[in-house]
Symmetry: C2
Subunit: 303 residues, 2 copies
């Protein structure tokens, strides 16, 4: 089934203890789309400025990414982000953010994309996320992301958006901030009360929690040692997860649990290189061989 992502497309400059990457492709929707494209086609909706390098667009074209929703806005500049990871890679400092075109009117979902069945609303203002929802005609599953900025300053808007989606993806700090509860399962349950059918709490290297009204599922992080650049890990995770669900046309909880494992494997590939470098050399087989490793690492059975 059709998969759509809306979110940022940007130019990143990143420094980590493992090196440096300047003016590379970044942004939530770009990471999502590229990650999802390892498993199947994806429709991308986003806006860039005139300065967005054509080689980044060419790179997207080499994958089954439909760019009919990629707007290049005349007279505008692309969103830019500069960041630096701490020596232990567990935290990062934002050195600079230039919203540029992101601060202007959001892009429109093209007519041909409005029938999309699986939709991921990557991190942006929750009111804009709702505008996107209004442009869709009967999707099967909408999942959104968010961040501390909206939780702190636009809480009412975010609560409204959460009442319109099927699922939400948060990291541990966001789940705690949104609910005021430190126990992550308790926090996830509080988020459920705001409307979504399922909540996914990402815990970085510790994996993720999937919470529904009836059940809790746990997926550990993929045991990788080669973390070069964690930028885009969450969006790559969501891309892998949603692509799997769209491919299988499934919205049941068992499929979501499996899809989270797929997303975990895709994200583990993404963080092993700067920008999209590692994802570029990966394909469905790379993901599926990591799924076998993750399964062997986590399924306990005694012979």
């Amino acid at each position: 089934m059709s998969l759509l992502v809306t979110g940022t497309i940007g130019i990143d400059s990143v420094e980590s203890p493992h090196g440096k990457a300047v003016d590379v492709a970044g942004g939530s929707a770009l990471y999502f789309a590229y990650a999802a494209s390892l498993l199947g086609p994806v429709r991308l909706v986003g806006v860039v400025g005139e300065d967005f390098p054509s080689q980044h667009v060419d790179m997207l074209r080499q994958r089954p990414i439909d760019l009919a929703g990629l707007e290049t806005r005349k007279g505008s500049k692309t969103f830019r982000w500069q960041g630096k990871y701490t020596p232990d890679m567990n935290d990062r400092e934002t050195l600079g953010t230039q919203l540029n075109v992101i601060a202007e009117a959001p892009p429109k979902i093209p007519e041909g994309f409005r029938d999309s069945q699986f939709v991921f609303l990557a991190n942006t203002h929750p009111a804009i996320q709702r505008q996107f929802i209004d442009e869709l005609s009967g999707p099967k599953m909408i999942v959104c992301d968010t961040m501390d900025l909206w939780i702190n300053n636009f809480r009412d808007d975010l609560v409204k958006t959460l009442s319109c989606v099927n699922g939400v993806v948060l990291n541990d700090a966001e789940a705690r901030l949104l609910t005021g509860r430190s126990h992550l399962i308790a926090a996830a349950r509080s988020v459920l009360e705001l409307g979504p059918d399922f909540v996914i709490v990402k815990k970085g290297e510790h994996g993720s929690i999937l919470c529904t009204a009836d059940a809790v599922f746990l997926v550990p992080g993929f045991p990788t040692l080669e973390v070069k650049d964690p930028t885009g890990a969450g969006d790559s995770f969501a891309g892998g997860m949603m692509a799997y669900l769209a491919q299988r046309d499934r919205t049941d909880v068992q499929a979501i649990q499996y899809a989270i494992a797929v997303g975990t494997c895709v994200a583990s590939i993404a963080i092993e290189g700067f920008s999209l470098d590692s994802l570029k050399s990966a394909d469905r087989d790379t993901v599926m061989s990591r799924m076998a490793r993750l399964r062997a690492s986590t399924h306990f059975d005694v012979g």
Copy 2:
């Protein structure tokens, strides 16, 4: 096969946001033995003072815990610990420690216990752990615990002990402190270089990592919401794990992985009440029904 534990037996006073418990049974070996006894017999070696309440001993007698190695030392006082958990239960403050009899000569392993096949050396001075090892005759598996005090101040002693054991159980902070590596799998691999065949890194609510020369296994934490008193969680974990291995007479990595899941379930019971309260009303069936829940929460399969 026979299972032996050496370590502290004490009197605890604990405060958490969920209540207070004064002068309750505590200590690493006591938690281990009581937890292990849910699955099978265990031999306890430890020393208490004359003030150790007889009802605590009676409580141990109601389980298959062999107390031939429990020394009540005349003229000495029992080890005591007082602690308070933070509101989010993720940290605790030690309000007081009275080493008392623990600062005197360690207990001896009784003649009848020296043939023990599975041995857990709960947290104590690494030189004393080696003394215990010397008193044993050909065990199949020795696993030790340790703490920051020994890592910081008796590192050479600890390194010697690690070269004499099959496995070591550390928490995440201890693994990082011992190796200077923040990535937990990298830290676990560094510990392997000191001699043990396997390293288990406990990550609290995030579960645990099992590392051998060839493989990494991940077991998530049990998804419990009812944490009343985390005291003894690590020793209950080790008790459940080692009891399973001793019962099955297995030392292979597949069995250790499964045993870690068993320990995870046993620990999840322990922390739902103060002191041994929850473990008292549990049995093998309680553990096995949690194993089924943990499996359902963590094994991803798509129908």
